[in-house]
Amino acid sequence: MIRPRPVARLGELRLLVWVAAFTLAGYVAVVAAASGRFAWYEIVVPIAVLAIFGALHLFLASIGFRGDQLLLPISVGLTGIGFILVERLAPGLLLQQLSWLVIAAGAFCVTILIPRDLSVLARYKYTWALLGVVLLVSPLLPVVGREINGASIWVGVAGVVQFEPWEFVKIALVIFFAAYLEEYREVLSTPPRRLGPIPVPPIPYLLPIVGMWLVAMLVMVFEKDLGATLLFFGIFLAMLYLATGEPFYVVIGLLMLVAGGFVAYHAFAHVAARVDVWLAPFNSDLRFDQAYQLTQGLFSLANAGLLGAGLGNGMPEQIPVVWSDFVFDAFTEEVGFVGALALLAFYLVFVYRGMLIALRAPTTFLQLLAAGLSFIVAFQTLVIVAGNAKLIPLTGITLPFVAYGGSSLVTNFMLAAVLLRVSDITARVRR
């Protein structure tokens, strides 16, 4: 193996300095507001977090990585905001989240180094599909499955460790979709017959759509996870559209989703409950019962105003499970509209950058892969922020990089690493 020559990644380094600055400022504000004084030994944890960020930068520079220089600062910037919020909302979980960050950083480096050639991923597409399905149904298995907060989306060994397999499933599925659509997109995008403006592909080509729809519906019904259903089917439709350029598939997919949702609303109590809570959270039967979390979140948002209550000065702890489900409301309450806008801008930059990486990628597989991964981040952000703001029914999706959660953090770092790998390949091909 040729010894890699280190490169300077100055753009990345400069941005990381700003990440360090705002992470420290936010953390200090939160700690000082809670304890009533400034104690310098308190900043050990954020310094450790920032050291890990710096180590990732040095790692990329030392292996001569030539990929994007904006994605890492944006990702770790969001992670920094996440640590501020964990300290604010659940200080007891801070060290746990720090150890997850170490694992996430390790997963990031491993993803950067292996696989040497990303296109190899495409060759094992049915392995990825199988892995995805196994992980997807694993929470339903008797020994390892756990039901937490009404959603059977957890796998764990009692009391030792538990994780949400769904988080890993999304990446496996995007790899599978990208490889599958690369192979079949010509067949799918040139339907032989047309009925007016509507293309009529032969039945076999519609099977994957129907299959994905069935799996999505099963997840909704058996794992009681609306978010996973939306994300799963959303990714599939978006990637299908990207690959074929045929809006018809999206329309038919959305119609099937709406139809399935309608039937599920009438047939399953837990689906109906989510929708009822969304439609009328202040209903006297729901206000202090099922809708409690959502209404507390709405009060939290209402308390925000333009500049917010000030970090550490609001009352987001009044929202149940705020650190994983309602971080957006908590953050907004304390930093106001101005801060919330900044947070959304972070995601905007991430997704825009991801889509640019996709546009420039040299092969169809890499393009679809990068676009699908960016879409995950975009879609998750939209679904959870809209859920927190009562624009759509609330789902258990996490806010990428920011919300407390180990499996989510590890997966998001791996996702960013794959995007970086695609941009690195592009940089090397173009030279």
Partner: protein, 148 residues
């Protein structure tokens, strides 16, 4: 003492928001810079170093007036893999080479069946190709022009 603490705390809170935006401004600037770099790269690819302008063609060939960008070494021929594709039955799969060397453009026949005409006369060697010169392949004629 109490008041100073509150003031400093608010200063830190506001500093957090300001830093957040300073970071974002730099991130957006980096995004913008790479986008305009991309624009320049794309334009360079479309404009080329020079262009062959179509001055005579036929129904199946390139449109008259169309500018076909040239690279430092461009292949001309009927095959779609060429840099300049000429859809004419008299054109060979790989017909001619246009290259830039020693500050000049050069035209060379690549062993075509029906030959390449430079300003009306068939070429046998690598010929100097001046701006304004016309090259004819089959029923298609092209003029070398500077990049715009």
């Amino acid at each position: 003492m109490e008041i100073t603490f509150a003031v400093i705390l608010w200063a830190v809170r506001i500093a957090f928001l300001v830093l957040l935006y300073l970071f974002l401004i730099r991130a957006f600037r980096a995004l913008h810079r790479s986008l305009s770099d991309e624009h320049i790269a794309v334009t360079a690819r479309q404009v080329g170093l020079a262009a062959l302008v179509v001055i005579r063609s036929h129904a199946g060939g390139p449109r008259v007036g169309e500018r076909l960008p040239l690279r430092a070494v461009s292949s001309v021929g009927r095959d779609a893999g060429n840099d300049v594709v000429l859809n004419d039955e008299a054109a060979s799969t790989k017909h001619a080479i246009v290259s830039f060397a020693d500050g000049d453009w050069w035209l060379e026949d690549a062993g075509s069946t029906n030959g390449t005409l430079l300003n009306g006369s068939r070429i046998w060697d690598k010929e100097r190709f001046h701006y304004g010169d016309e090259v004819a392949v089959g029923r298609i004629a092209l003029r070398l022009e500077r990049a715009q």
